[in-house]
Symmetry: C2
Subunit: 256 residues, 2 copies
């Protein structure tokens, strides 16, 4: 199994605090040693940093922890390989372009038998994971549902909930999916979130003895949703997402 971290905000925000705790689970405070990755959206642009080293030892993770990249949507993943070897092409998040936007995806769990990819599929997996294959099938499904282009967010939500449920029916399909505007978080077994907004307080990490007083680094209008497999802080209230539930976040709050 792996661990997921997502962030969705109403203003570009750096993820240094959350990542400081999260990346320790990649080989130091937990066993997810088989590579890691993170996708940051800045407007429609997206940068994805991947590494096959354990996150706790990766120079790229040190960069991400220390270089504040301000983003409105972030998806991060630390991997414990189940299907597919330790290799860059098997490292999450995966990214594809659809409808002129970058879509990125990270998965925790293992999914069962997936329908075969059609030979004329627009999206084909590069690596050997069930996760990338599931991502390609989801995008293919969305293209087929909406051949004329992107639908409104509620139709999109319904289609993602539908295909997510079908893929997840025979396996464990916790995932984070974003197009840089919306962030979708599906829980199969374990996923929780919190909203940070005014009045801001001090948060303290679980994975190392480190605190930030968010009242000192925010404005009253800021709002940030953080989603994680296992809560990252021990003095804030995390809300579990129910198994089978899909949440859709925009501007730091769940819309559905």
């Amino acid at each position: 199994m792996c661990q997921l971290l997502g962030m969705n905000c109403n203003v570009p925000t750096d993820i240094c605090f959350s990542f400081a705790g999260f990346h320790q689970r990649g080989g130091r405070t937990d066993e997810h040693r088989d590579g890691w990755g993170i996708a940051f959206y800045e407007g429609p642009g997206c940068r994805v940093y991947l590494d096959t080293k354990p996150a706790a030892e990766s120079p790229v993770a040190t960069l991400v922890r220390e270089y504040p990249i301000r983003s409105t949507n972030v998806i991060a993943h630390i991997r414990m390989a189940t299907v597919g070897g330790i290799a860059l092409e098997n490292t999450h998040p995966f990214m594809r372009e659809m409808w002129g936007r970058y879509w990125s995806f990270a998965h925790n769990g293992t999914v069962g038998t997936l329908p075969a990819m059609r030979p004329d599929s627009r999206y084909r997996p590069v690596g050997g994971t069930d996760s990338e294959r599931a991502f390609c099938l989801m995008l293919e499904h969305l293209r087929q549902c909406f051949p004329d282009g992107p639908p409104d967010e509620h139709a999109l939500y319904d289609a993602i909930a539908d295909i997510g449920g079908r893929i997840g029916a025979d396996g464990t399909f916790n995932f984070l999916l974003s197009n840089g505007d919306l962030l979708f978080a599906r829980c199969a077994t374990r996923l929780a979130y919190l909203i940070r907004e005014a009045p801001f307080a001090t948060a303290h990490l679980v994975d190392e003895d480190y605190s930030v007083d968010f009242s000192e680094v925010t404005t009253p209008e800021d709002r940030v949703a953080v989603i994680a497999t296992v809560p990252l802080t021990d003095n804030e209230t995390w809300t579990p997402i129910a198994p089978g539930e899909l949440l859709m976040f925009r501007d730091g709050a769940p819309l559905r």
Copy 2:
């Protein structure tokens, strides 16, 4: 205009030496301050590091310079914006998946009027550059030429030379394109390459006073092709690529 750097090798090799000189042109020894990016292939996997800061000042560039990522194909780009503002979505290299492989692309120059993208195009630009649009058109063209999947390398070369020439007919279309196996280098106005192979010697950078004795860090079987807009070293012989010519590299040597 921008500058390009490519590397194609028969064994995974780090690009630290070449990048040490190249990234100085992103704001220190030259004027290309509008962001930069680099794609590294490791087998079929690919990692793309992008930053909108000048390469000479970017913490991500410091990482790339100091963290030896061993790769058989690399494409790097430093940007001086002409079409499309300074933004992550306008930063090269661009990447798309085609035929189950990642393709990455960087461009130096400006191309003229491009045919409209068909509404059902598989590949759509995310940003506002002529470069990304040209890349999407090239991939679309290759898909149409080879609807049943990837052809052999010579048919692929011919198709890329053809579409490259057509796009470049009305503009300046220097580019690097790779799928992780082959690296294509098209010259419109300025592009040169060299092959480093046994017997290896010492190379000295143009952009800073730094030398490496490659005989100390290689084996006799190693072979590396380096391609750059402007030669990176001042004591090696760089071969200019002729305007209008497309070269195809594999395992550190031009095949055509």
